[in-house]
């Protein structure tokens, strides 16, 4: 009896090994997922950043992602943090990594914002809707990103860079945006950031 039990157990084990373990594809199964492994230390697993300062790149438009990487690598978006990593992305495969993040489901940030600050931001956002839409969804056809649910500190940090023309200087597509920011007081940025972060 004992020998039969052991034999059956042995067969089950062999079957399990031959079957390769599992049927469905897991979250690390695409080549892009493996190449993007390093990114999760700052941007969260599958690009779902839990932080306030690093953006959520899950579900990012591929062309927007690729432009960001190229600009970081070329020194057009000054960032000691992102420059070495953007060169790493270029080394390992920009298209694959961009597609991997584009394919990931985006959740809004878990960072909380003050409703009073959000209300001020909403009131200040009347000109932003021209490009970013009434709901903050942006416009993929024009490469305008979806701002909804991005962490507020990240959004604010980019506004500071736009106003100082330190993000992609000379980029025609950003001319109108930067001209607008030059007219806004710095104190407004936290309000706008909180508002767009709160959108779902």
């Amino acid at each position: 009896m004992v020998r039969l039990g052991r034999l059956l157990a042995g067969c089950a084990a062999v079957t399990l090994v031959l079957a390769g373990g599992r049927a469905a594809a897991g979250p690390l199964d695409t080549p892009g997922a493996a190449k993007a492994l390093v990114c999760s230390a700052c941007h969260g697993f599958a690009g779902q950043s839990p932080s306030d300062t690093m953006p959520i790149i899950a579900g990012m438009l591929p062309e927007y992602f690729k432009k960001a990487i190229r600009d970081y690598a070329g020194g057009k978006r000054p960032s000691p943090e992102m420059e070495p990593y953007s060169k790493m992305v270029l080394q390992f495969g920009l298209d694959e990594i961009a597609q991997y993040f584009a394919d990931q489901k985006r959740q809004p940030t878990s960072i909380k914002v003050d409703p009073a600050v959000v209300a001020r931001g909403k009131a200040a956002s009347t000109q932003c809707v021209i490009c970013h839409g009434p709901d903050g969804k942006g416009d993929p056809a024009r490469g305008i990103p979806d701002l909804r649910g991005q962490p507020p500190a990240y959004l604010r940090s980019q506004m500071v860079l736009f106003k100082a023309d330190q993000r992609s200087p000379g980029d025609d597509a950003l001319k109108a945006l930067k001209a607008l920011f030059k007219t806004l007081p710095d104190e407004m940025f936290a309000d706008l950031a909180a508002y767009y972060s709160s959108l779902r």
Partner: protein, 433 residues
């Protein structure tokens, strides 16, 4: 030969790092219920019969916890057992800020439930030996079989290289593994008289966290400048110069005239009774508070298992799979490794843990592992509000990790400090959530 009890063995191997402190205060798990009380009776024989493919992970720190989680993400049909004596994860990154009172130890302390949610089976025990030929990890007289083993043992201290210290560093505070020693060192710093002398020693490279001692110097100097303006901080650095972010640290230190930095001053001996430290070159110093950071090597289990090289210090590994060059089937990640042009950092350990996990999953499924490289983002706080950073990225060339680029922040700033808070919430989640 006198038989060592399991209690004695565990104390000397995995837990010796707590020195003579007695494990009071926070992080009790390591000495309290964790290793010694978690199991009522020591087990013999096969502790948990293996029915399918299993990966055992030794060490639940930045490398091991990450590796355990990512093996589960890569292939949930693989059983993962993690051996970690402590019931809590306390982050070494940011622990220097506990000394200055800028941060609390609680903010750096996390549980392991996130790993359990991924199906990682955690045993709060220390591995006592590895039997590579039998593919078993020993826990006292019990054992666990494995198909592949990941060893992430961190560092242990070479007390034998610091005459005047006991074999386990009794009476010396290194606070180089965050937890009770961090809290105790903070307490001693706060209790120091104004006009007192704080002595910090930096070991010769290679050691865990190259900029760590220099960040600690900033935090202690800032604290003293603010609270004990007549106190001094004497640094005996075994190295010829600041080892990491030198220009940025020197700029930061301009704000701290209380720092007396002495390079090329390797510690020759310590006298705990007379409170004196003697460097090989230069004057003897007398301290009110001593933070001696000793020379380091791979964690004890790596030495026991002969995963280390001829000098018995660090483990050489394959740059793509992190498989030990000495024992097949065993992967080593984190501070214990050598030969890659990367610093010994938590971020690197986290990256290695992920890459090794993916390699292990591929190998167990009969597939060629992808060629991936780590990256490192490293922040140092130079005051209570500002920080600096160095960032390195890498690639694989002819099977070896090669640096693509290193970049430094141009200057210290509140913005970089803010980014570091963002980094920590992301990476702690990556390791543990």
């Amino acid at each position: 030969m006198k038989r060592m009890s399991r209690r004695e063995f565990l104390r000397t191997s995995a837990l010796g790092s707590l020195g003579g402190l007695g494990g009071v205060g926070l992080g009790l798990g390591a000495l309290g219920a964790g290793a010694l009380g978690g199991c009522a009776t020591p087990m013999k024989g096969d502790i948990a019969r293996k029915s399918g493919r299993r990966v055992v992970v030794i060490g639940g720190g930045w490398g091991g916890a990450t590796a355990a989680k990512y093996v589960r993400l890569g292939d949930p049909s693989i059983e993962v057992i993690l051996l970690e004596p402590s019931r809590e994860f306390v982050s070494c990154p940011f622990s220097n800020l506990v000394l200055s009172g800028v941060e609390s130890i609680q903010a750096l302390t996390h549980g392991y439930d996130g790993l359990r949610r991924h199906g990682v089976k955690i045993r709060h025990e220390a591995a006592t030996a590895i039997e590579p030929d039998r593919k078993r990890v020993r826990i006292g007289e019990g054992y666990l079989e494995y198909d592949r083993l990941v060893v992430s043992p961190g560092v242990d201290f070479q007390w034998e290289r610091v005459p005047g210290t006991g074999p386990m560093g009794e009476g010396i505070l290194h606070a180089w593994k965050a937890g009770p020693q961090t809290v105790e060192l903070a307490r001693r710093l706060q209790a120091m008289p104004d006009g007192g002398v704080f002595v910090l020693t930096v070991p010769p490279v290679a050691y865990r966290c190259p900029p760590g001692p220099y960040e600690r110097i900033c935090q202690v100097a800032w604290y003293l400048k603010t609270r004990k303006p007549r106190a001094k901080l004497i640094v005996l650095d075994a190295n010829k110069d600041i080892v990491s972010k030198a220009g940025l640290f020197k700029a930061a230190w301009k704000a701290y005239p209380n720092i007396d930095y002495r390079p090329a001053s390797n510690v020759e001996k310590v006298d705990l009774a007379t409170r004196e430290v003697t460097p090989e070159i230069g004057d003897q110093v007398t301290y009110d508070v001593l933070n001696l950071i000793p020379p380091q090597r791979a964690g004890q289990i790596a030495v026991q298992a002969d995963l280390v090289g001829a000098d018995k210090r660090w483990c050489e590994v394959d740059h793509v799979t992190y498989e030990s060059v000495k024992h097949k089937g065993i992967h080593v990640v984190g501070d214990a490794t050598i030969g890659l042009p990367v610093p010994k950092s938590g971020n690197i350990a986290n990256a290695m843990g992920k890459i090794a996990a993916v390699a292990v999953v591929h190998l167990l499924n009969g597939k060629q592992p992808p060629q991936l490289a780590p990256g490192n983002t490293c922040y140092s706080w130079v005051s209570n509000t500002e920080a600096i950073a160095v960032v390195n990225s890498y690639k694989i060339e002819n099977g070896k990790v090669v640096q693509i680029e290193q970049k430094l922040t141009p200057k210290q700033s509140v913005e970089v400090a803010r980014n570091s808070i963002g980094w920590r919430s992301s990476i702690w989640s990556d390791v543990l959530a």
